[in-house]
């Protein structure tokens, strides 16, 4: 049974297509995130073969948990390159863990190397690089060329690549999303799915730019 959110997205996508016939359909496709505001902003989901940066102070943990659960439900595979060794397995359903390759990296340099290895492998549907717990000093030290290389690596694949950051960081991130949310303690009385509606997503650099670049 399609979840209400996904059917909503399809409707939305059709609406957009009717409204802006100029925008061509993405050939490599999307990976829906099941996070409605995000899928709306991205017009369908995370681009396959592309690098998406999600910048946010609050809500990106919820996004990550949702990505893991959604991957499990789709019977896909996901790698989390956990830059600050901060991931807590208690935050996702136990059954979803078997499809999550958790890569615990102590330094920013190794984090990028690990991402490179996994993206080249091409076996995984979704790769998340979480840099939120890495200090700003360290993330700044990641060279621009590293990011370009990662982008090149991901391009020929059908992997969706997401980078979670606290401040805008990735140069040339295809779409960049700003995620904002405000949660109080009462968030703990709600299911994770029900909290997703409280996320506010803003697309900073969108599809158009990307399409242009490819052209």
């Amino acid at each position: 049974m399609p979840s209400p959110s996904s059917s909503k997205i399809i409707e939305l996508r059709e609406l957009l297509a009717a409204k802006y016939p100029a925008i061509p359909q993405k050939t490599t496709g999307y990976l829906p995130t099941e996070v409605a505001p995000l899928d709306v902003a991205l017009q369908g989901g995370l681009p396959l073969g592309g690098m998406t940066e999600v910048v946010g102070q609050a809500g990106s943990g919820l996004l990550l948990a949702t990505l893991i659960r959604a991957t499990h439900q789709r019977r896909g595979l996901l790698a989390l390159i956990d830059g600050g060794d901060a991931f807590d397995i208690a935050g996702v359903p136990r059954s979803a863990l078997s499809r999550l390759l958790w890569v615990r990296s102590p330094t920013a340099a190794k984090t990028v190397q690990a991402a490179d290895l996994i993206l080249r492998d091409g076996n995984l549907n979704l790769v998340v690089l979480d840099l939120r717990s890495v200090s700003t000093d360290e993330t700044r030290r990641i060279s621009a060329s590293s990011w370009y290389r990662l982008q090149r690596v991901v391009e020929p694949t059908t992997t969706a690549f997401v980078v979670l950051t606290r401040q805008p960081l990735v140069r040339g991130a295809r779409p960049r999303l700003m995620l904002t949310a405000r949660f109080g303690l009462n968030a703990f009385d709600c299911r994770q799915q029900d909290l997703l509606g409280r996320l506010h997503v803003e697309l900073v650099r969108g599809q158009e730019e990307h399409i242009q670049r490819i052209a």
Partner: protein, 486 residues
Amino acid sequence: MFGVILLPNFGLQTVLRHQPEIRLTGPVALLGGDAGGKTFVLQCNAAARTAGVQVGMTSSQGLGRCGTLRLLTRSLEQETTVATALLESAFSCSPWVEATADGVSTFEIRHARSDPETLAGILLEHLARLDLEAQIGFAANPDLALLAAHAAEPSLVVHDARAFLADLPVTVLDLSPHAAAVLQKWGIGTLGALGALPPQELTRRLGSEGRALWERASGRSQRLLRLAVLPVSYEESLEFEYEVQTLEPLLFVLRRFLDQLVLRLETIYRVPAALTLKLRFEDSKEYHRHFTIPAPTNNVETLFRVLHTHLENFAAPASIQSLYLAATPAPASREQFGLFETALRDPNRFSETLARLHALLGVQGAGIGYPEDTHRPNAFRLDPPDFLHLPESGTSREPPTFGLPLRRLRPPLPIYVEVSRRTPVQVTSGVIKGSVRAARGPYQLLGGWWGTDRWTCEEWDVELVQGGLYRLSRQAEGWFLEGTYD
């Protein structure tokens, strides 16, 4: 002519092999268990027997007779090793070898190169070097040779069977428990007495075993050996003439090994499912590594990449003296697919990637995280991923996940917490600082109370006035910031 090598007190010997300090001194007994969990003396050495310890006694009875008795338990691993060594020794005398029983090997000599006495001497010396004490018998048929080995001190060649047999106890025959009980009731204690019974009558009563026993007791049994083969393994090894210090020559040889192994396996329609690599260094230390091939294949390139990836990140502690590679055969891989769901397009490639990740980050740097079975927070283990055999999803009902996930600080950060009416009201640390708007807790946990790893902790979730949700914990050492909810 047949020869038998017998390792008396086989189980005991194998256990003692690597404990010479026990072997040389006092009384020792090997314990065995029955199905009911009772332990009793299975074998014992001469010193123990002298002290009155008998096979079949309970350990308490044994200790009662002999206070200094050392009690040991069997080592099945050692027994396998010794059994192989025994077989190899027999093969050194003849190609016709039988693995007769635990610690007993029979072989046939058709074209004697030397007389039995000399052969026995060589064998005994060889086995002694392996720290094994043996008895060796030679006689005209296998069973008689076995009896000779039992009587040997330490070697015996039987020429007059009848005279030799007369006074031997029937227990030297490998009696079934039934036959043993019947003979005991009949008062038949020696092979002489057994041989004197009318054979047809014996057969009527004890069946074919009776006949066989009678034949053996009168030295007339003839039987064919159940020929053994040395365990075959698909392996290659090389002792380098010069010590190897760089990777290239090693890889060169390994690729050749792989070619060979794959070829040999192909003749039996098999492919390698696992590889075992052993390296020996000049300081005679060894390095072992077992590689499971996720999708068994005969593609040498793929197999080579597995080894290559690993060795690239391997730093040899000393120069390499010898190299060994073995392959575990499996049916060709096609049929392995389809049975399980697999989300991997190229399992071998993934396995290689994983090896590289492990090389980069260590084995605890990548894997599948699973919660440990404990109430202790943040207790998890990292297992190697098995994306080829994923569990069926959605079979068991799982409670939904509530609230925000935690982004942990590993290790947690000490933090100053001001408490009022048992509740945190103000937090101060290098990372966060502020007044608490709302707090939930305490959540109390404890465990490991029965040992040295006793722990307790009290957790709080707090929301700061300026926003932000955090988990705090209070432990014996004070307050800690466990992480951020986002």
